[in-house]
Subunit: 344 residues, 2 copies
């Protein structure tokens, strides 16, 4: 391309805008293609059920740092982040494929470590590793995972199903994975400047574990099934509560009103945020990588959901014109902006 041609920097669009821009003109041709770009996973009609497909690309230096991501945990996490997308559709993952790009600096033993994590995740979540390849890379470690699952037509949850009056809920707690990352980054900087200092991360096992070895909420999808609850919309919290809530609101054409007091934050995350001079609610809103399920339910399901463990009621879906807002503990109302992970 000559230098006179138009050059638009990709940062103009950001991560979500870019994929929208590149794919908006695509229309689906095959009747079996039920849902394309724009949800946690693609949906393919297979007659009796839906096949759910999700894919993720993890790049060294962008998504992980081998200074503090042990290879076994990294393999585990690479699988989890994809399974999480399938659960976010209220479906069950069944198969995964893994493609690796590895440079010569990795030994066979290092790859065995990585695979031991991949296999551990597959065993724990009862999914089969059915394909993939390993290729050379001169660019660090590249991990590409595709997960394939099954769901029932009438129980699949989209990002687009939230309606005014629905209740906004989340599983688990938010912000801990982000604070775990801050801790690991701090220890890395200390190590780089003073290699003789041993890192002390054991007392922060919870936060570091949330970052290095997250789990996907299969238990919640099973809990929904046992209690005959089908969320009206669902997404997994990978980019951060604010970004992921905005995905639901944008695609459902609604707004949301969130109570700060309803946002679950673990006591250790609370304390660590303060140590880092960060506002805990900001960590929960913008942190990301929690892999919890953010979902909305019809008001009629509220009595049932109230009784379920590890689910927190955070707010309500409101008309689009009312925006996406946070009611703080101090009584103020702030607009929620997407401040999740944007790598560009």
């Amino acid at each position: 391309m000559s230098t006179e041609e138009k050059r638009t920097d990709i940062s103009k669009y950001g991560e979500f805008g870019l994929i929208d821009h590149l794919t908006h003109s695509i229309s689906l041709q095959n009747p079996s293609s039920l849902k394309g770009v724009g949800d946690d996973a693609a949906l393919i009609d297979n007659g009796n059920h839906l096949t759910v497909v999700s894919t993720d690309l993890l790049l060294e230096g962008i998504h992980f740092d081998l200074m503090y991501n042990p290879l076994k945990h990294l393999g585990y996490k690479a699988i989890i982040v994809n399974l999480s997308d399938i659960y976010a559709m209220n479906a069950q993952p069944k198969q995964v494929t893994v493609s690796l790009g590895v440079s010569n600096r990795f030994s066979v033993e290092a790859l065995e470590e990585l695979y031991s994590g991949i296999k551990a995740a597959c065993e724990h979540y009862k999914v089969d590793l059915v394909g993939g390849d390993t290729t050379s890379s001169n660019q660090g470690l590249v991990i590409s995972v595709t997960a394939i699952g099954q769901g029932e037509k009438e129980k699949i949850t989209y990002r687009s199903g939230a309606k005014v009056g629905d209740i906004v809920c989340v599983t688990g707690d938010l912000g801990a994975a982000y604070l775990g990352l801050q801790l690991l980054e701090r220890e890395k900087q200390i190590y780089l400047s003073q290699p003789e200092v041993q890192p002390d991360l054991e007392s922060q096992e919870y936060l570091v574990g949330r970052q290095l070895k997250p789990e996907a909420r299969r238990d919640m999808v099973e809990l929904f099934a046992r209690n005959n609850i089908v969320p009206t919309a669902m997404i997994d919290v990978s980019d951060g509560l604010s970004s992921d809530l905005m995905h639901i609101c944008k695609q459902s054409n609604v707004g949301a009103f969130i109570e700060e007091s309803g946002v679950p934050i673990h006591p250790e995350a609370q304390q660590m945020a303060i140590k880092f001079k960060l506002d805990p609610i900001t960590c929960a809103l913008s942190g990301g990588e929690d892999y919890e399920l953010l979902f909305t339910i019809d008001e009629k399901d509220l009595p049932a959901v109230r009784l379920l463990p590890d689910i927190y009621i955070m707010g309500e879906i409101v008309p689009r014109e009312d925006g996406i807002k946070l009611h703080t503990k101090g009584g103020n109302i702030h607009p929620i902006k997407a401040q999740g992970w944007d790598h560009f």
Copy 2:
């Protein structure tokens, strides 16, 4: 990992050996997982049909060079190589997902070019782009594609179905993509040393086109269906005839006897090989990236296959003990060794 620990260099295993080594202990748990690692694609049982899944990772500097791979062609080829894997199972691709890792040196316009090739391939082959994401990369361009297709249970072709007495056939011609790459590499070196010299590739349109803009053999899979032919084994020629034939022989537990005179080589490839002081048959055996279909048929289908266009009969499947051998035009018999693309 401390330096005292065991360190085995990955080159010890090579590309195929490594994935075998890492995945050999995996057993499939889900009844729907019919076929895992080790064929062109994974197979998932969906009741009335099989879902066929193939995935490929393309890395800048390993699988393509942006000095001579125009982005539009690269997008096209990234889709084709995955569709080719689905056709090699005698199935029909229906959907693809695309994940990109891109650095800031790419403009939005450059990504639009790449996507225009992706879309052109999707339209031409009637597949839907249903998912994927775009992430930042500090490691050059990374393209990960997953293709999803459908096949009929009794018509799926595995690498493992060849039996003694079967006829070995191939579509199209072999070696041209490799010679196209040699031409592009030569022009790149000339350009790097003498930027004022304009490359003259137009007279070599066929060879360069086979490298930069390959097609997948949908037409052949359709031809098989119309003529009620189901190959006993099939693979696409991505690594080179010798490597891909060895995959069939290894998994079918057989040998093969190939006639040099039966290996189709385009006249332009023939001439260019000689110009490069290469043996044309070596280019056909070891070149790779032709994306033709290498397949075996039962002897009873030979009369029907003889009448079909663009299919070449190269040899015969023999007992495993007889090895995999080439009968040269000069009357010699040579063992065929895997010398395909091994990036390690």
